[in-house]
């Protein structure tokens, strides 16, 4: 079920009403209802993949208890290894097997061998990378004695399959989310109101900006050979906003929906395009994944400690693995490596933690130096997204070679496809400007519409909400899947 679908618009109020009016007497009952609702939400795509979630939930529930119970360190390690083996095994089979099969076959053919590795006829279960990482963090944390395992099976199952964040995150840690399932929840008016606001803004980003940018980004990336470099730059910019609004929009709706049910998820995006260098960008982009890799991969392998060689090696490992997490394609690996290359100088010169606070925290506008840095970081990020969006490395190279040719100075054009909105090409830039403005004004808060009542009276607030709703109605492009679903 997609957040921007009619099905979800029906599903959400029904679930909300039953959750608060029928199941509210008993937390266990509420959790059980959330499990059922989440399975319906997920099974809407393909109910067969529910078997994987149920298996993963049972496995980590059991292994979590066993790790905690075992006094013997070797036994604890064995249970942790089993959790890793099965979770990453599932991910490996469903997500990466065919990639390795093709890569091996191609590698052998380079040396004239006709060795073939058969591919599997399977499709990637939606959100497998997200819930696998969530359950893995649970067993890791128990192993490190950071948390105690839960014996409440309903709470644990609900933690794994909680529908707002099941298919595209944020990837929650058990230490934050699991206790929220165990304790009694009471309806909080202010929290629910904030949730609706955040959800509405997320929907605006997805439906109005991301889906409309997608029309042009797809057009340009799919036909890049016919366009001049100047148009390809536009394509990169469209994709830069598409992926941001698509994914952060999803996170906003997920966080907002969770608030309606009395849960608080962690912030996943913190205005990444206002970053002043790539290190800051990575602290603000897909925070739940970056911190996951930091805590469970980067720090265990040594982090930024030790020799320069270690620093370089660890940086490349974390960025390449993070890239590979996004998909089984060489483009994602190269995208990760490109980010590592950009990050490395900052790490080596100890400038990676220069900008912890949001830009222009005490002023309304950034100074010239800050603005230049923001524009430079944004431009570099947009160019790097080209690797991410391309179908293959071959396409990436071609795309770059057209950008950096004489055609970059020609006037950009786009061959129009028939869209439902006749003046979209001009308005899309206005809409992007509106988004940047809203984000800029709200950059000191976890989401731009937070605590709106402090600045605006009710009629103005309602006018803002109505305008957003109206923009969603009229700019509704053809419904597109969320990009991060494929990961």
């Amino acid at each position: 079920m997609l957040f921007n679908s009619f099905d979800f618009a029906v599903f959400l109020p029904i679930t909300f009403v039953i959750y608060w009016f029928i199941c509210n007497k008993n937390t266990k009952f509420q959790n059980f209802f959330l499990i059922i609702s989440s399975y319906i939400f997920y099974g809407w795509w393909d109910w067969r993949f529910l078997i994987l979630i149920i298996f993963s939930s049972f496995l980590d529930y059991y292994l979590g208890i066993q790790i905690d119970k075992s006094k013997n360190q070797r036994l604890r390690k064995t249970f942790l290894f089993l959790s890793l083996f099965f979770n990453l095994g599932l991910l490996g089979i469903f997500k990466y097997y065919n990639f390795f099969a093709v890569s091996f076959t191609e590698a052998f053919s380079l040396f004239g061998s006709e060795f073939r590795v058969n591919q599997l006829k399977i499709i990637l279960p939606v959100g497998i990378s997200f819930y696998t990482f969530q359950t893995l963090s649970y067993t890791f944390d128990i192993y490190k004695n950071k948390i105690k395992p839960t014996k409440d099976i309903f709470s644990f199952f609900a933690f794994v399959c909680f529908f707002p964040q099941l298919v595209a995150g944020p990837i929650e840690r058990a230490a934050n989310l699991l206790p929220q399932f165990i304790r009694k929840r009471t309806f909080n008016f202010d929290n629910a109101k904030e949730g609706l606001r955040q959800g509405l803004f997320g929907l605006f980003k997805k439906v109005v900006i991301a889906d409309n940018c997608a029309i042009y980004a797809n057009n340009i990336f799919e036909n890049y050979e016919i366009y001049p470099g100047s148009t390809l730059i536009l394509g990169a910019i469209f994709f830069t906003f598409q992926i941001y609004c698509d994914f952060s929009g999803y996170s906003d709706i997920a966080i907002g929906t969770s608030k309606l049910f009395g849960f608080n998820l962690k912030q996943n995006f913190a205005y990444p395009y206002f970053s002043r260098n790539i290190a800051e960008f990575w602290r603000r982009w897909h925070i739940s994944l970056s911190t996951w890799f930091r805590d469970y991969l980067y720090i265990p392998i040594g982090g930024s400690k030790g020799s320069k060689y270690n620093k370089i090696k660890n940086t490349f490992i974390i960025f390449i693995v993070s890239g590979f997490w996004h998909g089984a394609n060489w483009t994602f690996i190269f995208w990760g490596a490109a980010n590592a290359l950009l990050f490395l100088p900052l790490l080596l010169f100890n400038k990676n933690r220069n900008y912890i606070e949001i830009v222009a925290k005490e002023t309304f506008l950034p100074n010239f130096r800050e603005l230049t840095k923001i524009v430079c970081t944004f431009s570099i990020t947009s160019l790097i997204w080209v690797i991410f969006r391309s179908e293959s490395i071959f396409d990436t190279i071609n795309y770059y070679s057209i950008i950096f040719s004489d055609s970059i100075f020609s006037y950009p054009f786009i061959i129009e496809e028939e869209t439902n909105f006749q003046f979209l090409p001009k308005t899309i830039f206005v809409l992007i400007f509106v988004l940047i403005s809203i984000d800029w004004l709200g950059r000191k808060k976890t989401h731009p519409l937070k605590k709106l009542e402090l600045n605006f009276k009710k009629p103005t607030r309602w006018l803002i909400y109505s305008t957003l709703c109206f923009l969603i109605f009229i700019f509704k492009a053809d419904q597109q899947d969320f990009i991060y679903f494929q990961f």
């Binding site: 009619f6 309806f187 439902n420 909105f421 006749q422 003046f423 109505s466 109206f470 109605f473 053809d478």
Partner: protein, 291 residues
């Protein structure tokens, strides 16, 4: 919780009222300004689906405009015809009436997903209340989607001050390809027919055809039905007995021009149901001579 629900319901109601008001206002403006004007010499129009769209080359037929459109069911044809009649001096209307148009696939062309995203946003400003209710009941999900697209289209028209429907309401379609009879798979056709009972009839589509005929008769416009050529192997010819029965029962009083067995070569077909440019040329000359 009470306060929350009160606020939510209040907000949704406000938005709904606002949305409906804007939609109705824009529908009204579009309806009043819609420009369906054809060239002054046009006194004869042909309406229908892809069969007639590919069969009648209106540059060959005197004072005629072919306004057929692929996948158009009679419901949408009715509202299109109504607007054209209002704004033009039409004396003759030829309506495509082929075997496929009695078939239940037409229901999909009325309330399936595609017409809601392609036809509905164009024609819904001209619908009456009952038609809205009918379509809403048939496919509420797509109806809502179609309504949002309608508002989008309406606003585009109003802002750009462009109410012309030229190029959006159909026209002759020139197909240059030839059907490759080597690829014809009898077994696939048989299996299709097994799964799609030939007695499956779209009475909704027929109801709207009747409405078009009544509309034209009330305006003293001469109406005739035409069946454009179909290849002998065209699988939908297999509902011929039903077709004849329906024609006799419901449309016996309307002149019927049957070009089904009009002599054409295999090379005149783009596929079994549609003519290519050669076929349309022969058919159009013949049709023009019949006038």
């Amino acid at each position: 919780m009470k306060k929350f629900l009160k606020n939510i319901i209040g907000f949704i109601l406000t938005i709904l009222i606002l949305f409906v008001s804007i939609l109705l206002t824009t529908n009204f403006i579009v309806n009043n300004n819609a420009n369906f004007k054809l060239d002054n010499n046009i006194t004869h129009i042909i309406v229908g689906n892809s069969h007639s769209e590919c069969s009648f080359n209106d540059s060959i037929i005197t004072n005629c405009s072919n306004l057929s459109l692929s996948g158009e069911s009679y419901l949408y044809t009715f509202f299109k015809t109504k607007k054209i009649i209002e704004l033009n001096n039409i004396k003759n209307i030829t309506i495509e009436f082929t075997n496929i148009q009695i078939h239940s696939t037409n229901n999909e062309w009325i309330w399936g997903d595609e017409p809601f995203s392609k036809r509905f946003p164009i024609f819904s400003p001209f619908f009456d209340f009952n038609t809205h209710v009918f379509l809403l009941r048939k496919n509420i999900k797509q109806y809502i989607n179609g309504t949002l697209l309608t508002l989008n289209k309406n606003l585009s028209k109003i802002i750009l001050n462009n109410y012309s429907y030229k190029n959006k309401i159909g026209g002759f379609k020139k197909l240059t390809k030839q059907f490759n009879f080597k690829n014809y798979k009898e077994k696939e056709v048989e299996s299709f027919l097994k799964n799609n009972s030939k007695t499956d009839i779209s009475f909704t589509n027929l109801h709207w055809l009747k409405k078009i005929i009544i509309l034209c008769e009330n305006k003293n416009i001469n109406v005739n039905l035409v069946r454009s050529p179909q290849h002998l192997k065209y699988f939908l010819r297999k509902n011929e007995s039903d077709f004849q029965l329906i024609k006799k029962l419901f449309f016996n009083e309307v002149e019927f021009i049957d070009l089904n067995n009009f002599k054409l070569n295999n090379t005149d077909f783009a596929d079994l149901g549609h003519l290519n440019f050669n076929g349309s040329k022969k058919t159009s000359i013949h049709f023009n001579n019949l006038k």
